[in-house]
């Protein structure tokens, strides 16, 4: 964690230009330039390189068709490398089976993702893997987890004459990176790694070979069929391959694709837009982004240095480092349905216009290579298979410098569902960071960030196939070079300006402030005006842009690169829902907490690597705020995983989603009044929340509901962190307001609030010396105001981690003030009194609960680090203030407070034992159905062994039913309604229904028992453990039940298990009623 703070410090210094003299420890000097400007610098450099390469490529690319073919073949796979760098078997060796698998437009990656149930068998032992692979042809593989190595391995079927028929190749997981041991190539997730290995053997003896059934599948449905078999695939008919398949020679295969490719390219609807057009395209939804790619090359032997970016940036740095990195900035893409006049006048707006080749834009000149790629790869003339990510360029070989994904497929099918389109888009745009930036990673000769598209939304393709909208909307790709270029040149100018100014800034007493205010207001006039024409979305996660050593020499801490994105609002309504998904708190806040990113609290050892990331966003944020969720899918692996978990949490068809939603609605019941009723204190409320988060994390780790498994997306040592983050978004974000209110309510009720305020007033009146501040000058009112501002920003955040980050900023500011005034360093002897004084001066009683919130909800693993330290100090200081009178009298804290501290520590440090989910299964959502007034639903706390009779009592009470004897609890599944016998256990029924492979929606409804004569008891299964009385109900007014989900599909198999035999009602027409909860 402290490394991230370090990172932050450095930036503070750079941006504030004033702290270096007062810092506790001097960072490496010589960098007075804002990181943002370094980024821009890298852009500028990269542009130069690209231009050069464009020329080169144009001059010497004799086989465009082949390359295009490769691109198509590669599908979602991006591959790029400096031409001079030997890639081993790289693309050159890619002539074999990998290509065969890509006959249709589904990329290898698509196939892999969709069929991971077949090849991703983490639970298999080596023996089992051998058994499976032995009959398979050479090159067939499985990915499993070796128990001896405690790592994932690719189990590969070796050649027939090999001594070891099946060999394991370990996968190295580092900071968001997956790579094969011994290889310098790193990938953002397992799928990409495997996909790459299907194309290029890298360190493997040969390329991976997908089973023919998978590689030759023509449609996603075929793949789905295969996926259904899971591990059973290998023993099935499909899994038995003919040996002949094993050895395919190719080389010519790629060219087979060329004709169709060329045909397709004719229809490229590429357009360019100017920033101003973007600006006004709110409703038209142009999209743009800057997609930086990073490629780092180690040159231990000093060879292959033709592409040394260092030479540009900092030549002498090159000398002391064998590391050189190439950063590639990607061009923007726009997508719009608006065929209106486009900027630069270069390119026809008309979709499917062959003449609209953006090659014309070369005078814009930013992204030559990529552009030409995108041009040549237009959307296919017919809708692609839903699962397939649209083909996109995969620059190979010489086209190395511009790996980008440009693909925008405008099929109506895709528009149907925002999320699926989103993920597809995102996947086509995502860029993976490279692990080679990690100083800890083993020396690598070459590391390539190879972004490969991966559709995240893995729900059944059948859903997506439903055409709902006429294909009247066309999306255009637009590459606005000029926008970026303008921004860059402007920024460069500004950078030099800033540099010139920096000496005079030297006395700025609060450097850290400079940067965050600058970021927050964004409006600080001088910055990057042209960019104000755009919306820039920045990744809230800390890992955004990379500043690697070679590229940004002054930054000692390399970090993985990621994607930054620019985007405009959604295209149409279908997309607008995505905005809801874009729930980065910072976006709602208006403040820019994500400028905290470099100060984010992170488990020790984790953060330093992630943190590097500063970013465009700080400098541009204000201008580029208009970001929508559309580009959310330009996600880092972390973000994608978080999103995946969030999607699951909203899916009440999943057990996880059900637990989460039940819990949320339980707490939110009655607008928060429930919370106050059900918890004895604010502390208890927070503890319950923390427990829930911990348990859900534990459940997610153990269950297989996440699909694809999170282990395939996130390196294992990151999983907990990512899940924690996801749970904060899922639970804390929606509950934040309610929790804050409840905490305050508790405090007011207990009288603590009044006492706190009194004491705070008393403490505020004290002189610094009376508060224990000795040799140092206290902050002046202006500084106090600054601190107050930071604190109020902190109060608005929901994430305890981000709150702590904000707290750390305040602490940093206090230190800065202390040090600036005296020139020495201060330990706790001076700091703690000062912190107490400052807290008193701030006069913000709400901070007491804020600190409590952080103390109780912060990830326990962070409590020992810097965040934990300063949080502890803040808590201590606040305790002193809270007990100010008492302390004045007795000079010690009450024993009560000490006990509290004691308990807190014990609780928070022993809590880490894995909890069970059980406690949170205790919610049941029940709808009250009245003939006249429709339906109201409540989430009730129901113990697992509460009988239906007891639940009925609770319902009668909660719904205030006057005549409970006439009511009963019914279970509604699709088309049927059954009254539950009084001695059944609703929670068990719920669990049973959830545990089915094919979960159908079901609802518990509390309603008036129909006239007994109408009630036809159709069956009674005495052997059923659940002992459900089955009945049909002919009341036609079920349509009144309106909840969140609509389920219009009438003829689904209920999939009832024997233990819960239901009889379907005779009147099937009812099933068309939409009932959902």
């Amino acid at each position: 964690m402290h490394r991230s703070l370090d990172e932050k410090d450095r930036k503070d210094k750079r941006q504030g230009d004033s702290m270096s003299s007062s810092a506790v420890i001097q960072p490496s000097q010589g960098d007075q330039t804002g990181s943002f400007f370094k980024l821009i610098d890298s852009f500028a450099w990269e542009i130069g390189t690209l231009k050069k390469e464009m020329v080169q490529k144009a001059a010497r690319d004799p086989e465009p068709d082949t390359l295009q073919g490769l691109d198509v073949e590669l599908g979602g796979l991006f591959f790029h490398a400096p031409p001079s760098v030997g890639l081993g078997a790289g693309p050159a060796g890619a002539g074999d089976s990998g290509y065969q698998s890509m006959r249709s437009r589904m990329s290898v990656l698509d196939r892999l993702v969709q069929t991971h149930t077949v090849w991703l068998q983490l639970g298999l032992s080596h023996a089992e893997a051998t058994r499976i692979l032995l009959p398979q042809p050479t090159g067939t593989f499985l990915v499993r987890k070796s128990t001896t190595l405690q790592r994932k391995v690719i189990s590969l079927r070796m050649s027939l004459d090999s001594e070891t028929p099946v060999k394991d190749f370990p996968v190295t997981e580092s900071q968001y990176m997956f790579s094969l041991e011994g290889s310098g190539l790193s990938f953002a997730d397992l799928f990409r790694l495997v996909a790459f290995c299907c194309i290029s053997r890298d360190v493997l003896p040969f390329t991976l070979n997908l089973p023919k059934t998978i590689s030759a599948a023509q449609t996603p449905n075929d793949l789905e069929e295969v996926a259904h078999l899971g591990a059973g695939f290998w023993d099935s008919e499909l899994g038995r391959q003919k040996k002949s398949y094993a050895s395919w020679s190719s080389g010519t295969n790629p060219q087979r694709q060329s004709p169709s490719l060329r045909q397709r390219s004719v229809t490229t609807p590429l357009v360019t837009r100017t920033p101003s057009q973007l600006e006004c395209s709110q409703s038209n939804g142009a999209l743009c982004f800057i997609n930086p790619l990073f490629l780092k090359v180690h040159h231990p032997e000093g060879v292959n240095q033709t592409h040394q970016p260092c030479a540009y940036n900092d030549p002498h740095r090159l000398n002391d480092s064998t590391t050189a990195e190439v950063t590639v900035v990607q061009q923007q893409q726009y997508c719009t349905r608006d065929p209106g006049p486009l900027g630069d006048g270069t390119c026809g707006p008309v979709p499917h216009s062959p003449g609209s080749s953006p090659q014309n834009h070369d005078n814009g000149g930013i992204v030559g290579v990529s552009r030409s790629n995108s041009v040549s790869r237009p959307p296919p003339p017919r809708p692609p298979p839903p699962r397939s990510v649209p083909t996109r360029p995969a620059p190979l070989g010489r086209q190395l410098s511009m790996p980008q994904k440009i693909s925008w497929v405008n099929t109506p099918k895709e528009r149907e569902k925002g999320s699926s389109l989103l993920s597809r888009l995102g996947s086509s745009l995502s860029i993976s960071p490279s692990s080679s930036f990690l100083s800890s990673s083993p020396p690598k000769k070459l590391s390539i960030s190879a972004p490969i598209s991966i559709p995240l939304s893995l729900s059944s393709p059948t859903n997506r196939l439903k055409p709902t909208q006429p294909p009247d909307i066309d999306c255009h790709l637009a590459l606005d070079d000029r926008t970026i270029e303008n921004a860059i040149s402007l920024s460069l100018a500004k950078m030099s300006l800033r540099n010139a100014d920096s000496p005079s800034d030297h006395r700025d007493p609060a450097p850290s402030n400079v940067e965050d205010e600058g970021g927050r207001d964004g409006g600080r006039g001088d910055s990057v005006q042209r960019l104000s024409d755009m919306s820039l979305s920045t990744d809230s996660s800390a890992d955004s842009l990379d500043f690697s050593q070679g590229f940004f020499p002054p930054l000692p801490e390399p970090s993985p690169p990621t994607t930054d994105n620019l985007a405009l609002p959604p295209l149409n309504n279908a997309y607008s829902s995505m905005e809801d998904e874009d729930d980065d708190d910072e976006d709602e806040l208006g403040a820019s907490p994500e400028s905290d990113q470099d100060l984010t609290v992170t488990p020790p050892g984790l953060r330093g690597k992630r943190a590097g990331a500063m970013v465009i966003q700080r400098a541009l944020r204000g201008h580029l705020r208009k970001m929508s969720g559309v580009f959310n899918s330009l996600l880092t692996p972390e973000k994608r995983a978080v999103r995946r978990v969030m999607e699951l949490s909203r899916d009440k068809g999943s057990y996880f989603g059900c637990l989460v939603q039940d819990y949320l609605s339980y707490l939110q019941e009655g607008g928060g009044s429930q919370v106050c009723q059900c918890h004895a204190s604010g502390l208890e409320l927070l503890q319950t929340l923390r427990q829930f988060i911990t348990q859900m994390k534990s459940y997610l780790c153990q269950s297989s509901e996440l699909d694809p498994p999170i282990q395939s997306l996130i390196p294992e040592d990151q999983i907990d962190y990512v899940l924690e983050k996801a749970m904060h978004k899922i639970v804390l974000k929606p509950l934040k307001g309610m929790v804050s209110g409840a905490l305050q309510e508790f405090q007011v009720r207990s009288g603590a609030w009044k006492i706190l305020k009194e004491n705070l007033t008393l403490a505020k009146a004290r002189q610094p010396r009376e508060m224990g501040v000795a040799d140092t000058l206290p902050p002046d009112p202006v500084a106090i105001e600054k601190i107050r501002h930071k604190f109020s920003t902190m109060c608005k955040l929901y994430s305890p981690e981000k709150k702590v980050t904000m707290l750390l900023r305040v602490c940093k500011l206090i230190y800065t003030i202390m040090e600036d005034n005296s020139g020495r360093m201060y330990g706790a002897d001076d700091f703690l009194p000062m912190l107490t004084y400052v807290l008193a001066q701030c006069d913000m009683p709400q901070l007491d609960n804020e600190i409590l919130y952080m103390m109780e909800l912060l990830d326990p693993s962070l409590l020992h680090g810097e965040g934990g330290y300063y949080l502890t100090s803040a808590y201590g200081a606040m305790s002193l203030i809270r007990n100010f009178q008492e302390e004045q009298a007795a000079c010690v804290l009450s024993s009560e407070t000490r006990d509290t501290l004691h308990q807190w520590h014990r609780r928070r440090t022993t809590q880490r034992t894995a909890p069970s989910v059980d406690d949170f299964q205790n919610y049941l959502r029940v709808a009250l159905q009245e003939l006249d007034s429709g339906c109201t639903a409540k989430t009730l706390q129901v113990q697992p062994y509460a009988t239906t009779e007891e639940v009925c009592q609770i319902c009668a009470y909660k719904f205030t039913v006057p005549d409970p004897e006439n009511y009963a609890l019914f279970l509604l599944t699709e088309g049927s309604s059954q009254q539950l016998a009084s001695d059944t256990y609703p929670q068990k029924i719920k669990a049973e229904l959830h545990s089915r492979p094919q979960a159908t929606p079901f609802y518990f409804v509390f309603r008036r028992v129909a006239n007994l004569n109408d009630l036809a008891v159709t069956s009674l299964d005495p052997q059923s453990n659940l002992n459900v009385i089955l009945s049909t109900d002919s009341k036609p007014d079920l349509t009144d039940i309106t909840q969140t989900r609509l389920d219009p599909q009438p003829n689904l198999n209920l999939g009832l298990s024997p233990s819960l035999s239901l009889s379907l009602p005779p009147n099937q027409h009812k099933s068309s009623n939409s009932i959902s909860i």
Binding site: V24, I25, A227, A828, F831, L832, G865, G876, R898
Partner: protein
């Protein structure tokens, strides 16, 4: 590849005895350009090799004033080690040290490593606390004892080395903790709907 072990170390002692000076010296002397300053000097970290492990000291400074005494439990809870610092030129700081020892014995973690550091030994001519007395006291409680001079960088590294040595090595790195990685993935239901 060595495992990094994080060790929380709590600094106790009267105000003005040089607690933070010792830590600053410890952290600064081997200035690693990869480790830049943290928020402030109250919390500093430093990683040192120890046998087959890397020990990352997370050093929690405390305020020595009496009024903050009651907060100390929050700081020393969960600490692997406590460094109690006194000033050899101030007898009262040694008396305070004894109080800390007592409190740690009563309320501190059971297995906490206690180190006693007599700081400012560069000021031997105005010494008030005889080294022998302090050393005997340390022995009586089985604590590490060392006299240091943060100003002259004397014995600062040694202090932490001694602590490192007293930290019991991790015998069994949890090998089997990941064992329960069972994933038998079910084929996704074909008609699974998503809302």
């Amino acid at each position: 590849k060595m495992a990094i072990r994080e060790l929380k170390v709590c600094l106790l002692g009267d105000t003005g005895v040089g607690k933070s000076s010792i830590v600053c010296r410890f952290v600064q002397d081997h200035f690693d350009h990869n480790i830049s300053p943290t928020i402030g000097a109250s919390f500093l970290t430093k990683t040192v090799p120890c046998g087959h492990e890397l020990h990352k000291f997370l050093i929690w400074d405390t305020a020595g004033q009496e009024r903050f005494h009651s907060l100390a439990p929050m700081y020393y809870r969960g600490s692997a080690a406590a460094v109690i610092v006194y000033d050899i030129t101030r007898l009262d700081s040694f008396q305070t040290l004894k109080k800390w020892v007592k409190e740690l014995k009563e309320h501190g973690p059971d297995d906490i490593v206690v180190a006693i550091a007599g700081n400012k030994n560069d000021l031997g001519d105005i010494r008030e606390v005889p080294m022998k007395e302090a050393k005997d006291f340390a022995e009586s409680i089985a604590a590490i004892f060392i006299e240091t001079s943060a100003r002259n960088a004397v014995n600062v590294d040694e202090l932490f080395q001694k602590i490192s040595k007293q930290i019991p090595p991790l015998d069994n790195p949890e090998v089997d903790s990941n064992e329960s990685f069972k994933i038998t993935r079910q084929p996704p239901p074909s008609n699974k709907r998503c809302c």
